[in-house]
Amino acid sequence: MTAATANTDSLSWYEASARQRIDALVDAGSFAEFIGPEQREMSPHLAIFDLPEQFDDGIVIGRGRLDGSPVLVAAQEGRFMGGAFGEVHGAKLTGLLRAARTLRQDALILFDTGGVRLQEANAGELAIAEIMRAILEARRAGVNVIGVIGGRAGCYGGGSLIAGTCSRLIVSEQGRISVSGPEVIETNKGIEEFDSRDRALVWRTMGGKHRYLIGGADTFVDDETLAFRQAAIDALKVTRGCGVAVLEAEQSRLERRLQRFGAARDAVDIWRALGISGPTDIPALPTDAFLAAANNRENADDAR
């Protein structure tokens, strides 16, 4: 067999579609889809709201090869309904993760989601709970479940909780991770608490750089598909499981974070407390300089 080859053209991960991301991530030509668009498994609920459906319900799932090894892959399409979890969308991912456990094959989830799809909110919420349980069970069986975050819709709401159950997370600067979105916080707590139109505030509170610095993500990459591919290959080299020891380590890690940074008013305070000499420069730093500045970041290697 010939060596695994990547698609050589690098694209912006942020700009790419779900299908383009999969094609760029796995070995060229290796992806085979499960329940593809020709099956027309669309949401049965959007018609109630007279909303258009998509043939794949906003998520592409299947199997490809990554550097020669089989992996199960799911990619959300953030431009359709904000990449939100509905009944069919969620069930496709649940099925993929249960297969990962049964077949002992690693899985990659390419997040791009605003969270639960409100038009089918109960089904979406339950799908998230089912997915989290399926991930934990897969990890306990020795399977890696890697989350990849760098899309237009970010990784919000229930999507961020799913990300929190993954064994490793790869982010780019654009990869925002947060439970409540900026608009939700502003609507509930007022503009004094959070001004959702202040984009700089959004990026430094929820963006990939901050998450990487506090240990909320494991690998920080440029917004390029080839960089994501290499990070995914590297992430699959270590398997950690998910037993008592891992969760005890995570407990210590998250307690430590509250002790160190619990009184911070802004991300810049946290970055300063991490010993970064020019904390206000962080948002503007290119990747190499950022990674050098992040040398003393909090780290979650054995504690996720």
């Binding site: 409100l118 909110a121 089904a123 409540s180 707590k189 969760l247």
Partner: protein, 239 residues
């Protein structure tokens, strides 16, 4: 029912359960099931980083004790705490950590049962009640993903239109009965009957796979989830 009424009903021989702030923690001897660990969140409080880390610590301690006794998780919460501080500190990790701890407990041989006796919503609901092996509820409990007025704002539909649509399907609107029909809640307890035997009945249920999607199919609230999930598993195995 108040928390005191519930605890008295579940554990007529008394219990050693404290409430600090909104957090419930302790244990009791159930007449049939023996030792039961009890924890939870009360008073309709939001679940933020500070609450989640305390609850997760308790769950991990229980798992480490190795006693394999059941864990009863009582839930009357709001949603996740919606604040800049919580998100700055990585709330998603704290909520996922609590959920993982509960899922771990079930996998390590503890029966985990959540009793929803008040409200719960969104991230708080996922990280607590929906992360246990079996979720039961008392009449009057009111789970939600989002309340209808907020939903009306986001979907840009008048609330009357939304209410009319909610009559036709259990799939989106808040409420106990909808969460039962979609398979999220295993059973609604009878609050006129003694609670202790109802807990015993749940604990006698064999520990097994996640069957919520199949419950949703049987009850008509989620007709596609189970079938699609199983089809994906079969396709992956066959290729």
């Amino acid at each position: 029912m108040t928390l005191d009424d519930i605890l008295a009903g579940l554990f007529p021989n008394g219990s050693d359960i404290g409430v600090a702030g909104a957090m419930i923690s302790g244990s009791a001897i159930h007449p049939g099931a023996g030792l039961v660990h009890v924890l939870g969140i009360s008073q309709g409080q939001p679940l933020g980083v500070d609450e989640a880390i305390v609850l997760a610590r308790r769950v991990i301690e229980i798992v480490k004790s190795g006693d394999r006794a059941p864990i009863l998780f009582l839930v009357d919460s709001a949603s996740q705490r919606m604040s800049k501080r919580d998100e700055l500190l990585g709330l998603s990790e704290y909520l996922a950590h609590l959920a993982k701890a509960l899922l771990l407990a079930e996998a390590e041989g503890h029966r985990t049962v959540a009793l929803l006796y008040g409200g719960s919503a969104a991230g708080a609901f996922i990280a607590t009640a929906l992360a246990t092996g079996t979720l039961v509820a008392l009449p009057g409990a009111h789970p939600a993903v989002m309340d209808l007025p907020s939903m009306a704002r986001v979907t840009k539909l008048p609330i009357d239109v939304l209410k009319a649509k909610a009559e036709a399907t259990p799939v989106f609107a808040p409420g106990l009965e909808n969460m039962v029909q979609t398979g999220g809640i295993h059973v609604i307890w009878d609050d006129n009957a003694p609670l202790g035997p109802q807990l015993a009945a749940v604990l006698q249920r064999p520990q097994g796979q996640d069957d919520r999607a199949w419950l949703g199919t049987e009850r008509g609230g989620r007709r596609k989830a189970a079938e699609i999930t199983d089809r994906v598993v079969a396709l992956a195995a066959a290729s």
